[in-house]
Symmetry: D2
Subunit: 357 residues, 4 copies
């Protein structure tokens, strides 16, 4: 790839929080160039009028263009749309010749029935599910190189799967008793006028939500099955999300049992397994033994920190992973996938995006 | 009890956060009257100079008195001291004829070996363990009426045990696979100059800590055993605490499996079990079916909110409980126990202490 | 007043944040008893379903009654309604024989033109302005004893006027150059679904708003005039409010110039002036010299902390005051006024309502 | 400058919050390369062990080297040391041939007496004051090109001076009545184990501090004098800092009176003055008329947002500016100055460092 040639990227649904984080990610990218920012309700305004953080950084005027129009001069289109809407617009974009990264749940599943049950929708284009690549570059980078359609993973699934993968791939844990207890910052709920997300309703609070049947449960479960070399539906997981009073970040605490293949398990051994499995990965940071992930250390970045311990008293393994829900959990992971889809080094433009203190 | 006669209560270790919450609780109490506030490093200052919130509410001068001196004119002494210190001062207070409520771990265990292993200390007065009453009024109120020594429960144990009790007492869950995932506000760490608890180190962060061997694990486990009618050590639990960016509050999310005695389990049935079990309890609020606890609703109060759901996909029960770590989790629960120890209605002075919006 | 006889108090507009704080204040009050809670959109629900903090504390069912119906069995009605609505409902309540405390701006002004210009409304009952008492008990307690209608002051005016009063009453500052720079917590904006008050839009932010012409400017100015023994309009003030990322609390930093009457001004002298002026006041806490107010020490209470310094370099006096915007700044001050209106000790039910740590 | 040739930059005092922000700024810089990170108490540890945010971004081992040793292979040394320490180490570095940017107050003043009075220190190298350039590139970029020693401005001074400069330079305001009311996030206090900055002591609080004689007062005043073409000491300012519950960011609200030169002043005219004055500046963002600065929009960046209004009622001008206290207020401004000192475009490596949502 000639890095002096810019790749045009457009965002449909640019004015939500995921959209804004995509704009941030691509604004400092040396190869991709933002072409169109699409957002119906803010059309005509500058992006930086909606997000004053971006004044002088991205003053592009938001447009209300059809997918066809967007596709005309875009090499890549990223859709940050509600599920059910994505499944209608993405095929149009693909037909027009663009590559697409979609942020909804519409193309994340291989099993149609699981999608339709989880999202309570009939999929208008089930034929695309087989070709769509699940956009976790750490596991699917080979397929990303060749795909036209990437389904960007959910935030909770990314956080959970990165933590579980070394153990599922190598069959080191029992597959029938995985429990994922996770916590998200408020930005995960998106940008909306909703009393439930008002400052005074959330500050100094902490609560579970969606305690049964949260959609990400089946997404996590299907990918766990694939990581373990099984079929969709073979593995089920218990998943409980919580809402915490910070804007950005996510932590998963995962409980599982060592399988018979995992002998003489200790916390040190768990740390070794992570180090071995992720030794080539830039964005998965295996913490030193005894150091546990903290949301603070990863928020506003594409890094995800992992570690685990063994509780000898009860014989359970505890795995921990922390990431930014909009970063590695959404938009910056999409930048990473975009790099992979266009043959760039996956880390391009991403390594030094951190928040610092 | 003649309620016009005031009962003298003194606090040793009054200037920590638990101490301050005790002062708050007793300042508005119609029967107890604060007599001595003991705190070595602030002796000579007014309590309200250390905690300006209390100006005009409690301007008592902090003293540095020996336990013997405190005992002279106190009916009840509350010790908010580090473990290992309590075990030395409490016997002195008891010998001097006071009733005592102790906030450390020193008198919470019935099994000496478990205490000594958990706290890495040799207990100087193991003979007191048998008589000390574990200060959870909901379970031990009969014993509280007659005891001289109450061991105020840990915050995580209170939160966990209130949620688990109906299921353990009635043998409705498997006892060998209880997992407690809990979250505390920062005040749980106490009042200290420690970079780890500095504002900039914690704000916008979220992290697990003490992921193996946190002391409250064995305290929870021993009480679970007793609730189930077993001996100390018979039940073990998996416990993981996390630190969240708010000052006050605690939430426990508990995973367990229905036992054979619990047939046809549903979320509605779990709600019914709670309602039946806690129908006489003022401070345990069983939320309506489908409503889950939120730290915001209980912080700064003595209330604890509980509810649960059944995950039919994986066959697990999820129990949730929220309380204030310094309130029901420490100081206000001590006020409740003090009421019980002196024959007062347990709710005296506590019902309307809430934070509101 | 026979304190065993309960006084019926009803709240119209009970489900906003001011309403909720009124419910908190009266729930623990030994003399007033909540009779009706009126809120159209939540009628039929329990108050504690809207505010789960109040479960078991206030489970009254919210009603949608007309002012006439509310008046039937209420001794006091507190209206927490938008301006323009209050001015229509309050006369109905007064005609029905109730005493009223109104939280809007509709009855706070003596000068009709100033009100109508500030609120851009025509007042339907200007004849009531003369009789309405401005509900700052520290200045108007004699009038409160006899009034049927109390106009509860705005939050910024309370905070500003308590700080300025000793200097205006005694003509110790120049009256033509008062600058009030103030900061409010988010609850001041009320309970509403509005993106501007969403968690992610405010957390970690801080900003001025209403930088010219905020309504409280004229309310402050009129009362400053009265405190100085002048007519409405004689004193003008410069006022700038800011929004800060906390739920409750307010701080005013006030700049003014010593008048010729104030000789040899020092910070100590300013402290003395405060101590002398407020020596009989329970809720105005004059801090020790050198100690400045902190929102944290007053939030969730009816206390207001004040102090001041003299900047010898520039010859300016800086006055500081901190209060809770919903407490002393609104609902708890209304409880204090209600006490005064019904001949109770003003501190009844209020002294020990503090948040603590 | 050949941008392929890296410039070696070292940081003495790298483990404080300013140091960490310098590391963040230079980690993504295309020309500067971090050479030594000096921090006595953490020597031997990796920087990313102290700040886990930086894992894989900056894993340099912290050293305890003398200034002479640091100077050997550094083109630029940035000192983030306490005042009084800087004044001793900086001359050593200069003698060794390095360029230096110092973050303390030691070289910010031109008038020795003002420095010595403000900092209560005797300056060991007063001869350096004349040559040191005050590192506000917007005003002193020509001098920065040639200097060996840059005194990085204080955070409050940067925020105040950027807001005031157009009015002082053009004599549009009265110089004897400037009032600066400012608010800082907690990171401004630095990284330390101090109860005063503990999470529970600051969360939900807001307070003034240093209400008389804060050191930045004289720094602001001296630079105001210079901007107005006067001598040090000619202009005095009233300054009040406050501490707010967020990690990063600063807002100044400034009150001043239009001079006779400023005729027909309106808010629109103030906005025009800003736009004209800063039309060539990348990092000073003049907001649209009617839009006021918000800390949220600038934190974690090198941008500073400004705007102003005219209060026709009282005849005062209000100016507002918001920046990040560690960014434009300290470390990122130092990167901007470093760019200027080495002949690079001032915006190099800084334009896209923003936090986003």
């Amino acid at each position: 790839m000639d890095s002096s040639k810019k790749i045009n990227v457009s965002i449909i649904g640019a004015t939500g929080y995921v959209g804004a984080e995509l704009v941030r990610g691509f604004s400092s990218h040396p190869v991709f160039e933002l072409r169109h920012l699409i957002g119906r309700s803010f059309a005509g305004q500058k992006f930086s009028d909606v997000y004053p953080e971006f004044r002088s950084v991205c003053d592009i005027v938001i447009e209300d263009l059809s997918p066809e129009e967007v596709a005309k001069d875009s090499d890549l289109v990223i859709t940050a749309l509600p599920h059910g809407v994505s499944s209608q617009q993405v095929p149009v974009l693909l037909n027009a010749g663009c590559k697409v990264i979609d942020h909804s749940g519409d193309f994340r599943y291989k099993d149609l029935a699981t999608y339709e049950k989880s999202y309570k929708l009939e999929h208008p284009h089930p034929e695309l599910l087989a070709d769509a690549v699940y956009g976790l570059p750490e596991f699917y980078r080979d397929q990303l190189k060749d795909t036209k359609l990437t389904a960007n993973p959910g935030c909770y699934p990314t956080c959970s799967l990165i933590a579980l993968a070394p153990f599922l791939k190598n069959h080191l844990i029992e597959e029938d008793s995985i429990i994922i207890d996770a916590v998200s910052g408020v930005s995960g709920a998106g940008r909306k006028s909703d009393l439930a997300y008002a400052y005074c309703e959330l500050d100094e609070g902490f609560k579970p939500y969606g305690a049964v049947g949260h959609r990400h449960t089946t997404e996590i479960a299907e990918q766990c099955s694939f990581l373990a070399g099984k079929n969709s539906g073979d593995i089920k997981v218990t998943f409980t999300p919580h809402l915490a009073p910070f804007k950005r970040g996510m932590l998963a605490t995962i409980y599982c049992k060592p399988s018979k293949s995992l002998e003489d398990v200790t916390s040190a051994k768990i740390n070794d397994i992570y180090n071995e499995f992720y030794k080539e990965e830039t964005f998965v940071r295996v913490l030193p033994q005894g150091v546990l992930p903290d949301v603070k250390a990863v928020s506003y970045s594409n890094y995800i920190d992992v570690n685990g311990v063994y509780d000898a008293e009860t014989g359970l393994i505890k795995l921990f992973s922390a990431q930014d829900n909009l970063g590695k959990g959404a938009a910056l992971q999409a930048v990473q996938a975009a790099n992979a889809m266009f043959g760039l080094d996956e880390t391009t433009g991403l390594k030094t995006i951190i928040r610092g203190v």
